[in-house]
Amino acid sequence: MPDRRALTVTDVSAGYDGTPVLTGVTFTAHAGERIGLLGPNGGGKTTLFRVLLGELRPMSGTIEGPDRLGVVPQTERSRLDFPVSALDVALMGSVGRLPWWRRPGRAERRAAREALDAVGLADLAERSFGDLSGGQRQRVLVARALVQDARIVLLDEPFTGMDTISAERLEGLLDRLAADGRTLLVAAHDVDQARRWDRVLCLNGRQVAYGPPDGVLTREVLEVTYGAAIVELPGGGGVMPAHHHHHEEE
């Protein structure tokens, strides 16, 4: 049985200016797993991402995994006024791997076009990034992570601000990436969606729970994760955070 461990985090604590904001994080992610990170704003999701990306040194604990992880930031924080096309953004995934004197060449451009094709945006490669819809921009940023050839990709609330169709399309894309062996860590608020993923990590200043959704997404765990601010869905649809129980419209 091959070892499919992609990332092992052991008892990691992290914070700012000597004050921990996240403690006791321990989990193992395997190749091809889709892992949802749930927690309130300020619960430590972004801090954990920063630690995994190497931007923030953990105060304690160890992390075993690849040196470089792919990252898909929230598109709402992108600079829409910056003069770049979708292809330019996808190509950015190749820049860090090249020596400083080399510009992205034909091979890198081909990889970027293939990545845009993989996310269903081949026809919009030359379109200005700022002119794309929110869902399309998010997929361009996923294409950038593909060009990075990252085996582990961190996605920071990728479904925020998307309509249902765009969200379903992106979720289908993430499923395909996981089937390709990539490990995805997705910070999100949608508990209902997290039930469809392989594992869920609940954070609220500390690790509340980690494991398959059936075992983790219980009322008790979600109450601790969201500080009791949860609502029960009608028809036995489960529970979710009170202020995130619907998709925002694009």
């Binding site: 990306l53 931007e55 470089r68 990252v71 930031p73 003069p83 330019d88 820049v95 510009r103 992205p104």
Partner: protein, 274 residues
């Protein structure tokens, strides 16, 4: 007959070798500054560029007074400005923005005081307003060198500057250092200012760095075409400014700066009407 008159009017300014040299200088500076200016505006560094230009004035004036090369004086002025800003920013209760404002105003005032003092030799006003019609062979050679250096540097840095400018927060995760990109860009800006300030003057140099790029930004969706458009706008304003200066008897540098601003207003209006 009419055609001959027009041809004569168009060719007349260029019979003077001084105007021809001015045209060459402004063409070189417009190409260099147009391309670099796109990064300056994209990185929101216009105020920093203006501050650097103003802060190097005392160095230029002291160099002119003591007879050392202006380039060296300007470089020393930049160094003093950078150190002063770093020190002022450490003063409690003074933010970085305020520190830059205080230091730059102080240095610029000091430079103007020296340049405009009755005991200073004539010609130092040229450091403030430039003398595009009086460029030397050295100025032209430096401008040509600047074009080459910027062409090579911006070509090599293009991908990294794009990554940091577009997504500074995640640039490190993409393997690109924002610190190095910022430092490289500021060094190039300082170099461009040092060279361009000699022909265009301390007050007008920022116009050729910022205005063409700001105008080009209104119609460009990608960086490379924007750089080409900015260079073309700068050259066109340079040529038109020299015509204006020749026929209206206005100061050449100021005429060019004014037309650069006109180019920006036209580009902004055209975009608003689209």
């Amino acid at each position: 007959m009419a055609l001959a008159t027009i041809a004569h009017a168009l060719g007349d300014p260029w019979r003077d070798p001084l105007t021809r040299r001015a045209l060459l200088e402004i063409t070189l500076l417009a190409v260099a500054s147009g391309a670099l200016g796109c990064w300056v505006t994209a990185y929101n560094l216009s105020y920093s560029a203006e501050s650097l230009a103003h802060a190097l004035l005392p160095g230029l004036v002291l160099a002119a007074l003591t007879g050392i090369p202006l380039l060296l004086g300007g470089a020393a002025g930049l160094l003093v400005a950078a150190l002063s800003i770093a020190l002022a920013a450490r003063v409690p209760a003074i933010g970085r923005d305020t520190a830059v404002g205080v230091v730059v105003t102080t240095l610029f005032g000091l430079g103007a005081l020296l340049a405009l003092s009755p005991s200073s030799p004539p010609g130092l006003q040229g450091l403030l307003f430039g003398d595009i019609l009086g460029v030397s062979d050295t100025d032209l050679a430096l401008a040509a060198g600047l074009v080459v250096v910027l062409a090579v540097a911006l070509r090599l840095l293009h991908g990294r500057l794009l990554v940091v400018g577009f997504d500074r927060t995640n640039a490190s995760a993409l393997g690109v250092s924002p610190l190095l990109a910022d430092a490289a860009l500021l060094v190039l800006v300082a170099l461009a200012l040092l060279v361009a300030v000699q022909g265009l003057g301390n007050l007008l140099v920022v116009a050729v760095l910022v205005a063409p790029a700001a105008a080009a930004r209104h119609g460009s969706r990608r960086m490379a075409p924007m750089m080409a458009a900015a260079a073309a706008i700068g050259v066109a304003a340079g040529v038109a400014g020299l015509y204006l200066s020749f026929y209206a008897g206005t100061a050449a540098g100021a005429s060019i700066a004014a037309l650069l601003v006109v180019a920006y207003v036209v580009a902004a209006a055209a975009r608003a009407l689209r």
